[in-house]
């Protein structure tokens, strides 16, 4: 469904992503992990057209190379950001509506917006200014806006960051429902390894923009090179 081939991104002398290839199958929950600065968010910025790149990314056989971000969204790839992004000038309902109005190829659909507000439990907050929401509310709204585009692939960038154990459980359940009930393929960047093991079907580990492992999450996290380069002592202590 989504295929990245020999993806490379350089910022001057810095190689942020280096000859990276991976493929995501329809219906999968695909995880990406790696230490800080590994190039995980950069990969998202390449897929969503924020940065240009060398190599190729195809979505259902269509090359995304040179395609502007709004076209990629309309094609069916939507995303969230590590630092929750909302529209402080708009209400919660309008924020979700942005995705429906501009990202859904069928145009604004009030029923879709309504069902997303209900799905996320944001019905009662619909008239709030988005900046009045708490962190979890902002994350849900960001996901809601992305879902309103009716994506086929949803890229989640560290959705658990800053969340407590209860919120993490809620978000994991939400991601599962988006994947199973809505049939949306998920790619998730996350630091919490236990979340990735529990949630994902396939896991990619990168370091300094280079792939060091890819495969079944339970197997990948046991590889010595992964433990050494990313998981380190913290993971060893955890287990």
């Amino acid at each position: 469904m989504l295929q990245a081939s020999h993806l490379t991104k350089k910022f001057g002398e810095l190689v942020a992503v280096n000859d990276l290839s991976f493929s995501v199958e329809e219906g999968q929950v695909y995880g990406i992990a790696g230490p800080n600065g590994a190039g995980k968010s950069t990969v998202y910025n390449l897929i969503t057209g924020i940065y240009s790149f060398e190599g190729d990314i195809t979505f259902d056989g269509i090359s995304l190379s040179g395609m502007p971000p709004h076209k990629i969204a309309q094609l069916g790839i939507s995303r969230t950001f590590q630092i929750p992004q909302t529209f402080p000038s708009l209400s919660v309902e309008q924020g979700v509506g942005v995705g429906s109005r501009f990202g859904d190829s069928d145009g604004y659909d009030s029923e879709n917006v309504e069902s997303i507000l209900e799905f996320l439990g944001l019905e009662e907050d619909r008239n709030l200014i988005t900046s009045d929401l708490n962190l979890l509310g902002k994350k849900k709204l960001m996901i809601g806006s992305a879902l309103a585009t009716r994506p086929r692939v949803l890229l989640l960038d560290e959705p658990m960051a800053g969340s407590n154990a209860h919120e993490i459980r809620d978000l994991m359940e939400l991601i599962r429902r988006i994947n199973k009930d809505m049939g949306v393929t998920i790619i998730v960047i996350e630091h919490f390894m236990k979340v990735l093991i529990e949630l994902t079907d396939k896991l990619l580990i990168i370091e300094s923009g280079t792939k060091i492992a890819e495969g079944d999450p339970n197997e990948v996290t046991q590889l010595p090179e992964v433990i050494e380069s990313y998981l380190g002592d913290a993971y060893a202590d955890d287990n």
Binding site: Q74, R79, T86, F87, S89, Q94, G99, I129
Partner: protein, 334 residues
């Protein structure tokens, strides 16, 4: 958040409704009628500035330049090409809109202060261009300016400076039409796109909002309307010079915007009317006037960051809170 549709319509209706009956009281005072006409003209220019800066978040400082481009273009079309002033105004708006798009193109890759620099550069370049040989060749009159601009004539009425009541009502119609257009844009999906791009451009783009389309559209629309009103101004006063490109008008427009509240449309309309009034009262101060105007910008930004609309909103909130406390006997329910 911006005002809702009903409040916005009511606010505009009340302001322009009051303006509409003003000639009944001051119709025979030539000087006051001129001030009222200028209130309406600057209300449109400042509203356009609010749309691009306050709503779309584009720090465009080229609004005066688009106004002057429109004024000169309409004058040149009517004098050198013999085009009816009404159509010359429409053409001038189109020319200004085209310039807006040309200026908007390099701004697509820029943000914040850099956009302000590029757009203000257009303002700075315009004066030497209009005075240059190239300017004279296209009919700007060089340093002399243009002195014989024909008045607007419609339905057998001549809208000259000697017939200020007619000019006033023509300006009122123009201001109402422009305000309705701006209001419709703000309340439509265009306005949503502008706000979304202003708040978070990357997130908006990831949801399908085209920065290219909507940024160029706001440049085109605001410069078109500003150029149109610039053309109207030229046909009203009958002469043009590059004096308008001085810092005075720029600062005055900025006060209108800040006083009304940036991004608080239609507060800027009230801001424009109040600023024109204040400016007239300060004219006796001569060279100290620009200094006082500059100080006003600083004071307003510090004390009234959301302008009059913000003040009214705070007052309404205070009144509601006070009312609730009165009902609950001042007991904190928490």
């Amino acid at each position: 958040m911006s005002m809702n549709w009903k409040s916005m319509s009511a606010f505009i209706a009340v302001i322009y409704g009051i303006m509409a009956i003003m000639p009944l009281f001051v119709g025979d005072v030539d000087h006051l009628m001129h001030i009222l006409i200028m209130c309406l003209i600057w209300a449109v220019v400042a509203s356009c500035w609010d749309l691009i800066m306050g709503f779309a978040g584009i720090f465009s400082f080229g609004q005066v330049a688009f106004f002057v481009i429109g004024a000169y273009a309409s004058a040149i079309f009517s004098i050198d090409f013999g085009i009816n002033p009404f159509f010359a105004m429409l053409l001038a708006g189109t020319v200004a809109g085209g310039f807006g798009v040309l200026v908007g193109l390099p701004c697509l890759r820029l943000k914040g202060a850099y956009v302000a620099l590029v757009t203000f550069a257009v303002h700075m370049i315009l004066e030497p261009f209009l005075k240059s040989g190239m300017g004279r060749a296209i009919g700007t009159g060089g340093s002399m300016g243009i002195l014989t601009i024909p008045p607007l004539e419609l339905f057998g009425i001549s809208f000259t400076a000697d017939n200020k009541i007619a000019v006033f009502y023509a300006a009122l119609v123009l201001a109402v039409v422009c305000s309705v257009i701006i209001m419709l844009v703000i309340r439509s999906f265009w306005g949503t796109a502008f706000l979304a791009l202003k708040d978070s451009e990357d997130f908006a783009a990831s949801l399908g909002v085209s920065g290219l389309r909507y940024k160029l559209a706001v440049f085109a629309l605001t410069s078109f309307l500003t150029g149109l009103v610039g053309g109207f101004y030229g046909h009203y006063v009958g002469m043009l010079s590059t004096r308008m490109l001085g810092i005075d008008l720029f600062v005055t427009l900025m006060i209108m915007l800040v006083l009304g509240g940036i991004g608080q449309y239609p507060g800027v309309i009230l801001g424009a009317i109040m600023t024109v009034g204040i400016n007239e009262n300060l004219s006796a101060l001569g060279s100290y006037r620009p200094m006082i105007l500059g100080a006003m910008v600083v004071v307003l930004v510090l004390l009234l960051p959301d302008g009059i609309i913000g003040l009214l909103r705070r007052f309404a909130f205070w009144k509601t809170s006070a009312g609730e406390k009165a009902v609950t006997g001042g007991v904190d329910n928490n």
